[in-house]
């Protein structure tokens, strides 16, 4: 299938200053919280262990010392009530950041998140704000297993009234957290444990990366790769494997999953005709399914399409490395699937692993 070349489209990027400083994802999250707490006395940070010596991988380090135990506190092991309390604080005008070191724990708080936080503005006729941020981390590798690995963001995309953001770079980690804190609606802020190791340019001053705008992270012509959260990293690596075999992949980071910038994705697919969406979650009824469905609705009859979702294997996450490796997509399997789509046939190709494109992982033993 030929690759139509349409007009050159400016690559969308949030503005960046000339002088760039390098920061880790962890420090970007910490700095965003620090700046927002300094800017607005209503911002409070709490959750299990936010004030302990490990300070949630360092993302809350120093906040207790700077802002005191009333604005930064560890909580009882009560996800349900603490989420409800966070909503009550938000109704009263505070701006809580509720931290969960694993996203799996949100399942203990779903009543408050979906029955109350997401619905309050509507069911109270627009008379209340719920400016709540829920930070939740997805774990991966070295034995995270069934209950420390889940990406549940699709469940939240399914329900109106709560926004969902999944930043993949330190720059977006800082800008999205600031935007989430300033938002008058509840925001689920999805972090991936492996992204915490990343470093990248982060301006010192406060800035926001606002809801509803995706970013083209690598321009290309032959197919569109959408990588969600950590899978953005794998997609950028996959693009390099593909480049080596003459396939030009455009990579898009949706950043915000709800509201979703389907325009940027659909415009890309209208040019490339091929779309692979890679999620750090199961594919059934998830973010990948939603993006593929919206693109198909938009472009059916407009042009010929090849579409694919990738994500967790449809099973429970195992701990043993040989099985766990098979559970996740990676740059090589994404590249292989993408090439099949471009050539419109099963190529039987899996690129040999390149040392410069290896991922990071947890290192044991804990």
């Amino acid at each position: 299938m030929p690759s139509p070349r349409l007009k050159d489209k400016a690559v969308e990027r949030a503005p960046r200053p000339a002088v760039e400083r390098t920061l880790s994802f962890v420090d970007a999250v910490r700095e965003a919280a620090d700046l927002e707490m300094a800017r607005d006395p209503n911002v409070v940070v709490f959750g299990l262990d936010v004030d302990d010596p490990k300070a949630i991988q360092g993302t809350t380090r120093g906040l207790l010392e700077k802002y005191g135990p009333e604005r930064v506190f560890g909580t009882p092991l009560s996800e349900d009530a603490m989420t409800g309390a966070a909503i009550g604080m938000a109704l009263a005008g505070l701006r809580p950041i509720h931290v969960h070191i694993r996203m799996d724990f949100l399942l203990l708080a779903m009543n408050q998140l979906l029955n109350v936080a997401a619905k309050s503005r509507y069911m109270y006729g627009g008379r209340v704000n719920v400016p709540l941020v829920v930070r939740a981390m997805i774990g991966k590798s070295w034995g995270q297993g069934a209950q420390h690995s889940q990406g549940l963001h699709g469940m939240f995309m399914n329900v109106p009234g709560i926004k969902v953001v999944a930043p993949a770079t330190p720059y977006d980690a800082k800008g999205c957290l600031a935007a989430a804190v300033r938002d008058d609606d509840p925001v689920l802020y999805v972090e991936h444990r492996l992204l915490h190791f990343q470093k990248g340019p982060v301006p010192e001053a406060a800035y926001t990366v606002l809801p509803g705008k995706a970013r083209i992270t690598r321009p290309g012509d032959d197919l569109t790769l959408v990588g969600i959260s950590y899978m953005q990293t794998e997609c950028l690596r996959a693009a390099k494997y593909l480049e080596a075999v003459g396939v030009s992949a455009e990579v898009i980071d949706p950043i915000w999953l709800s509201p979703l910038d389907i325009d940027t994705i659909a415009e890309s697919v209208e040019r490339t005709g091929r779309l692979v969406v890679v999620d750090t979650a199961w594919t059934n009824c998830g973010a990948a399914a939603e993006i593929v469905a919206q693109v198909a609705e938009r472009l059916q009859g407009v042009r010929d399409l090849r579409l694919k979702r990738m994500g967790f294997a449809p099973t429970t996450c195992p701990t043993t490395p040989p099985l766990e490796d098979l559970f996740y997509p990676n740059a090589r399997t994404v590249a292989a699937a993408a090439r099949d789509l471009v050539e419109d046939r099963p190529c039987g190709w899996l690129p040999a692993e390149r040392a410069d494109l290896q991922g990071v992982a947890f290192k044991g033993p804990f």
């Binding site: 009882p76 009530a81 409800g84 309390a85 909503i87 604080m89 938000a90 209340v128 704000n129």
Partner: protein, 321 residues
């Protein structure tokens, strides 16, 4: 004080009797969970609160909404699903709210608002306000995990919150003894470290007095407090009528509660002329509220898609000029 309490009690009773009467016409577009028989709990507690204090309640929240000062017209219009309702017809009877009166919300999911109340109290404390939050819920809610979790947190942080468990003995049709291995809600609250007491839900004057004492202590920094208030739901769980024909409770069980009805007892304690003046005024107010609801328009179709996010409300407001 008796006249004021009677006025508040009669107002809830009269309003709900009118809701029950109108319900058969299907003009009310929301399931109703009537408070009839339980009014004194909300009235007694709220009479001791200030306008700046906040309450959270349940789907059986008409009495609480009115007792705390919620707008009557907006409530009836809400039951009718009209644009002038307190949530523009979007929440219905189970999600009444009036932020200006300190009525901060009610939930159809049992136990849910207990935690919201504690969070609101945390904000009061963080701001060095002397306002308090009163959290109303039923005996069924005391079985939810959020009840235990919230009580622990409220004690841990010494929050300015008064928990009011309206124990009417039933969760829908199931009696407390068939749901709780040890039917002692007050005792469970005490085990979490709360000062907790059991009070008579028909004694509106006593409830008012005890609340005033307790709330003064909470304002002074005494931390949270717990009331288990025994009361009785005269009518069916949801809907306007009785349900004794279902057989899950005998009519005889209700009779002592009706005999001790605080509305009737307080009425008898007032001079006849004063009582009649109060009743006439309330009757007019209730009639006017139903007329207001009848005359109000339904919301525009565009309202379906507003108030989902802040931006929708902003865009709608801009479009309305």
């Amino acid at each position: 004080m008796n006249a004021r309490l009677y006025r508040a009690l009669y107002r809830v009773r009269r309003l709900e009797e009118e809701v029950a009467r109108v319900y058969a016409t299907d003009k009310i577009k929301s399931p109703v969970h009537l408070s009839i028989g339980q009014e004194a709990v909300s009235v007694g507690v709220c009479d001791a609160l200030r306008p700046s204090d906040v309450v959270f309640g349940t789907y059986r929240g008409h009495a609480l909404y009115l007792a705390k000062g919620g707008d009557l017209n907006a409530m009836v219009a809400e039951l009718y699903g009209k644009a002038t309702g307190c949530t523009k017809g979007k929440g219905g009877s189970m999600h009444l709210i009036d932020p200006e009166a300190g009525v901060m919300g009610m939930s159809a999911v049992v136990g849910t608002t207990i935690a919201n109340a504690a969070g609101y109290a945390y904000a009061f404390k963080a701001r060095r306000s002397d306002a308090v939050v009163a959290s109303f819920f039923g005996d069924g809610a005391s079985e939810e995990g959020v009840f235990a979790e919230t009580l622990n947190f409220a004690v841990l942080k010494q929050l300015p919150v008064l928990f009011v468990c309206e124990n009417n003995g039933y969760a829908i049709h199931t009696p407390q003894a068939r749901r709780q291995g040890k039917a002692d809600i007050r005792g469970r609250a005490e085990a979490y470290g709360l000062p907790a007491e059991r009070l008579d839900g028909n004694d509106v004057v006593g409830l008012r007095q005890r609340t005033a004492e307790v709330v003064a202590g909470i304002r002074a920094g005494d931390g949270p407090h717990f009331f288990e208030v025994t009361t009785y739901r005269w009518r069916e769980h949801v809907g306007p009528g009785g349900d004794y024909q279902l057989g899950y409770r005998p009519l005889a069980e209700c009779e002592p509660w009706v005999a001790a009805d605080p509305v009737r007892k307080l009425a008898a304690a007032l001079p006849a002329a004063e009582r009649e003046d109060i009743e006439a005024e309330i009757d007019r107010e209730v009639a006017a509220a139903f007329a207001f609801a009848e005359d109000s328009p339904y919301p525009d179709a565009a309202e379906l898609m507003t108030d989902i996010y802040k931006e929708d409300a902003d865009a709608f407001a801009a479009a309305q000029g």
